[in-house]
Assembly symmetry: C2
Homo-oligomer: 526 residues x 2
């Protein structure tokens, strides 16, 4: 059995705090910099590499991080997780999202069956359904093919699937696997659903209602919104809707849906992109093979996360360096900076993944902790961000650790050569340049133009953003967040912090409030 | 002449630090909370209200903030700015973006003319051009109407105009003023331009090239990309492109463009939404009247910013409270949370506006400063964010001050009533509930479900997001950022921090690098 201890009760953490800080400007200059770029990198799945040359670590600090990983029993805890131990202690649930894409350990049985078989069966059911939609076996009432799929969901049922769809849309169009346009309705703001529906050919649209419990207020409201629109268009809603939910939800066996695909309580919303939640929309949009490849990339990365050799385990290393930056160096935020327009909403997904998982103030036993946990996560694609918030990253008063992502080749392949280089070369040149600019800085006589440097970054470099690379990238961050949760000894798999607001909103709508809340409700004429 | 002093040289700042902190849980509970909601609010333009009841201030702290505003001479400095003093000391330029929408003080003369007249003339020129496009006087070579406008620009030439377009798209469609679809190309990633162009009817598209200097690499590269595509489609690029630039730029008198509209060096990119940079695309998309109303809302808010009565000046108050949170309470980040799907990219615009303006480590004289300046800014629309990163905001170990925005009515007006309330009522109920949940928290026997509260927020409340309200909202944040720059004694109007990366990227492309940068370049095959 793993020994769950707070970070500040580990002697390796004291040892880590006692080590001298590195001088990143010096480290990344001259021959030392060259050696670090060559040495401080680790292979990931699907041709990706995690390079941490420009992080504020050296061999001595890495040695302490390895010791911390051992004392915190990161590998044992991951093993316990994938073997089906109840790691989500708050909700008393297993944590099985890795099982949606592969099997790392023991068979896990629950709800009367083998869970891996259950997830594979759902994937297969979705694949069959998607194939029938694509080949015209399943059509609208007029016998015409569906051309658009619209996901109705919020949070984990929206951000991950949306980010993954955008990440592969152009790749699929280029590679001949694009099947249907996908759209998303999430916000309870009626203008969200109204605008999406106004731009959708309802007669040829299939809607996916995604709610694990079948009770998410925003999602049920938007479902009603959509049904209303379908009815007004003279269409039978039940011929246009499918559900992704849990087998125990009221939606599971409703005749309101053409089909229902299942996830379960062991898949948290923000970890559900590789379950039916991502599977239905990605399989419909791009075909089941693309979704299978995406899962395969994630499964391969999961295997690397299970590697007990810390320096060969990209996720564990990234997690450890992040905790060093947060709890020893004291940096309060982390920026995610993909140099790929296709990853435009990937930072928004990671923002949920990380902040909802590790934004906690009590440990997994409900006891207060005496150290900071999850940082603020934000980001936008490069080079856009360079012309936006990078000013603060370069010359602001706080240091913000950076996580770059870059690919050698573009997805579409259409390019122009201007001033002797392609746009893709310019894109790559920019991310390489930023790493050095942040790390090394540059003194200038004009203090306004002076850069202190010493601003740490890592980069994940790939060949091209394809389904496997995307799966590996996603699993990298999921598993990094998991390991950080282990280090902080918190439960990364519940989200009790979202409940109070929901309760109070319900009270407002029921006119059962008093005090300042009543006052605000009256301002809004509720 | 205003006296420019560092924040920590102001005695009012010492006095502010010495005041006891408030207890937000207590303040916002019971009768006290009711009174604060009623009292701590100030009228803005276009029917908006800034309410700061849930901020960690009380009458005593507000008194010290007023004293700080006076000692820092915020009103005098704003006056100096709008009367044409060289406030952008780094680049030795005046700062005139407020003059694009109104005149608060003296006539400002430069470049051989009155600047207000110049900006109005550009607005009129754009309006004439837009009207001719709309009524078919200006068409493509085949004599057909243009149906789509595509902006090519990055940073301030992209984020602000894009956020404003999205903010008003549905409003314009509902109100019969929608003229043309707008799209945006920004990233040097070739997949950005390729994907936008693939979805555009080139024969009926008009492109706006936006670059003040006419030298922005990304923008010129994307222009070449677009021209290439037009040529391949058998179209004459010069009949499909207009330019927004400075009069001295190489683009100004080029025959490559149907028309050119001008901005100048006194308008920073991130402050350019009310200049020709926003004017061309918004006038083409929605008609000149909508753009004029947007300017009018901004001009009205500017007037309020010039009010010397601090407690009646929403921008000054917001700025002062923000500095109190940053420099006394020590909070490192601020979240922007609009409860309006139309404002989906407004936080990304404010991220640039704020972080690029105030992410500085030297004062306006180039001297090091001993206090923190601009915070990290991030945000997403509610209620989406509630299902994402709010977990950390409610229960994380760091306190993140929040800026909510909410409107009583939706833009489109289509709605459904579910469980006795409309979607719009649910949206409003949620934002009201969140304010109280963050401020007051809620104790629970289960520490996992316990909320400490004490997390400060403000809210801007409006009737409906229309052009005037949007203008006022934009000016609010622009002027807030300006006042904060004054308080920190930094130059909020240059961005030298973006230069080093550009230089190094150029060196990479010219193969003139060594050390770690060369090593990274080789990994990317450059």
């Amino acid at each position: 059995m793993a020994d769950w201890k707070n970070l500040d009760r580990l002697s390796a953490f004291d040892a880590l705090k006692a080590v001298n800080r590195t001088d990143l400007v010096k480290d990344m200059s001259g021959e030392s910099g060259v050696n670090r770029v060559k040495k401080y990198n680790v292979k990931m799945a699907a041709g990706l590499t995690y390079n941490y040359a420009a992080k504020q670590v050296n061999d001595e600090i890495l040695e302490k991080l390895v010791a911390l990983a051992k004392e915190a029993q990161l590998s044992e805890k991951f093993k316990a997780l994938y073997n089906g131990e109840v790691i989500n202690t708050g909700e008393k649930r297993m944590v099985l999202h890795q099982l949606t894409r592969g099997q790392l350990g023991d068979n896990v049985t629950a709800d009367g069956g083998d869970k891996r078989e259950f997830y594979v069966a759902q994937q297969k059911k979705i694949a069959d359904f998607a194939n029938k939609v694509h080949n015209g076996e399943i059509t609208n009432a007029a016998g015409e093919k569906f051309t658009t799929v619209v996901q109705i969901g919020i949070g984990g049922s929206d951000l991950g699937p949306r980010a993954m769809y955008l990440a592969l849309e152009n790749w699929a169009k280029k590679n001949g696997t694009f099947k249907m346009d996908a759209k998303f309705i999430s916000n309870v703001d009626p203008d969200d659903a109204a605008a999406v529906l106004a731009g959708t050919d309802l007669a040829h649209a299939i809607f996916i209602l995604v709610s694990k419990s079948g009770t998410t207020l925003e999602t049920l409201t938007n479902e009603a919104f959509v049904k209303d629109a379908l009815k007004k268009a003279g269409l039978d809603a039940s011929k246009h809707m499918i559900a992704v939910t849990s087998e125990t939800s009221p939606l599971a066996s409703s005749s309101d849906y053409l089909a229902a695909f299942f996830m379960d309580d062991y898949i948290g919303g923000r970890y559900s992109s590789t379950s039916a939640v991502g599977g239905a929309i990605l399989s419909l949009a791009f075909g089941p093979k693309v979704f299978a490849d995406f899962l395969d990339g994630a499964a391969q990365e999961d295997k690397l996360s299970a590697n007990e050799d810390v320096l060969s385990n990209p996720e564990m290393l990234d997690a450890l360096i992040g905790v060093y930056e947060r709890n020893v160096l004291g940096y309060p935020a982390t920026a995610i900076l993909p140099y790929s327009q296709a990853l435009s909403r990937f930072p928004a997904h990671l923002q949920q993944l990380d902040m909802e998982s590790n934004g906690k103030s009590v440990n997994r036993f409900g006891e207060d902790i005496n150290y900071v946990t999850g940082p603020v996560i934000f980001g936008e694609p490069g080079t856009n961000g360079q012309h936006s918030f990078y000013q603060l990253l370069h010359q602001g008063t706080d240091i913000v650790p950076l996580q770059f992502v870059g690919f050698k080749a573009s997805q579409i392949g259409t390019d122009v050569e201007i001033k002797g280089s392609t746009s893709q070369a310019k894109l790559c040149a920019n991310v390489a340049a930023q790493i050095i600019a942040f790390a090394c800085g540059k003194k200038d006589e004009n203090p306004n133009k002076s850069f202190a440097g010493g601003r740490p970054s890592s980069i994940i470099i790939g060949e091209k953003l394809d389904p496997k690379a995307l799966g590996a990238l996603l699993a990298h961050f999921e598993n990094k967040v998991m390991f950080q949760g282990f280090l902080w000894n918190i439960n990364s798999f519940d989200q009790e912090g979202v409940q109070l607001g929901k309760k109070l909103a319900t009270a407002v709508l029921a006119h059962e409030t008093e005090g300042a809340l009543k006052e605000f409700s009256e301002i809004f004429n509720i």
